[in-house]
Amino acid sequence: MTPEEEIEFKRRRKGRNTALALVLLFFVALFYAITFVQFG
């Protein structure tokens, strides 16, 4: 892997990790809300 490729590798990995973290956080919030609605 050339240095340029390594920079690109890290940029993409970081982007994916951020996207996945946001998706997971969103589902945590959604399931929290669903739970309250279903038991309300």
Partner: protein, 305 residues
């Protein structure tokens, strides 16, 4: 960067987003939401949001599976050669796993949070699109667009069942409307857009049966659509707002289809009637479903009752 480097680098998250065909998904979201808002009964906004989200996730998963299966076909056609898999930005197996994960999550969440009948229809629609249409019938019959239209017809039915929990005549009619709308919509486009489906062995109607037959069938489906679009009003399930809109829109649709059916394109033809029919078909579906929601909101026991 060389091609080999592109293959071992992790895919950009935007390429996974592109696999879900966001523009197709937006139509599923709109019709699914319309079905949900038009259905009798009450659904909590959080549950309603979850139902529409699951419809969108399911549509995205099915789209990813479709691109996994058709990667070699896409690579050979100009319009699709830049998609994530033929473009070398996403591995085929990653797309397959992504599609399965999205599909499974959408069905599971729909079942747990909304109801299992809606989840079952959602699962059926994904299998219908990814397996029955993409894998089985699309490469085998020139009626593939008619069959594919069935996949696009599920969202309003799922939205409706998410509220009511049962399949009655109305959600079936909503399904039938999109089912009969799709062939004239797509074939109008196929008449004026030069595609290379023939090159990759996909039997599209204008290529297999010729232009004249395609034009006749466009009119045939448009005429069939008229009583089906009007049916929710005829059977008394909707009021005059929907009924008036459905009859008016459908008559214009038949008229524009008749113009397309009664002509032949010469060399260097501008294809204006075909483009007008295609443009109107998009407006038709949006206006019809908007009228359905407006009818219920104003005349039914909906938002203002």
């Amino acid at each position: 960067m060389s091609d080999s480097a592109a293959l071992y680098l992790p895919s950009d998250w935007r390429d996974f987003l592109a696999l879900t065909k966001p523009r197709v998904m937006s139509l599923a979201i709109f019709t699914g939401l319309a079905g949900l808002l038009a259905a009798p009964g009450h659904i909590h906004p959080v549950i309603g949001f979850t139902a529409v989200l699951c419809i969108a996730l399911g549509a995205g998963g099915a789209a990813a599976l479709n691109q996994w299966w058709e990667a070699d076909i896409d690579a050979a056609m100009k319009r699709t050669a830049g998609r994530p898999i033929p473009g070398g930005r996403v591995r085929k197996t990653d797309a397959r796993d992504f599609g399965i994960a999205l599909s499974a999550a959408s069905v599971g969440i729909m079942g747990v949070a909304v109801n299992w009948l809606a989840a079952a229809i959602l699962a059926l629609s994904i299998v219908y699109y990814a397996v029955v249409y993409t894998i089985w019938l699309k490469p085998r019959t020139p009626q593939n667009i008619v069959i594919g239209g069935g996949a696009g017809a599920f969202p309003p039915m799922i939205g409706w069942v998410a509220v009511t929990g049962e399949v009655t005549l109305m959600p079936v009619l909503l399904f039938a409307i999109i089912f009969f709308w799709t062939p004239p919509h797509f074939w109008a486009l196929a008449l004026f857009v030069q595609t290379d489906y023939a090159k990759v062995g996909i039997p599209m109607m204008p290529v297999v049966k010729g232009e004249a037959s395609t034009r006749r069938q466009i009119l045939g489906y448009a005429i069939l659509l008229l009583p089906i679009a009007g049916a929710p009003w005829f059977i008394g399930s909707t009021g005059a707002i929907y009924g008036g809109a459905a009859v008016l829109l459908s008559l214009v649709f038949v008229y524009l289809a008749a113009l397309v059916a009664s002509r032949r394109a010469g060399p260097g033809d501008a294809m204006k009637p075909e483009k007008r029919l295609f443009g109107f078909s998009v407006l038709y579906l949006f206006a019809l479903f908007a009228a359905l929601v407006a009818d219920r909101a104003i005349l039914g026991q909906g938002l203002f009752a």
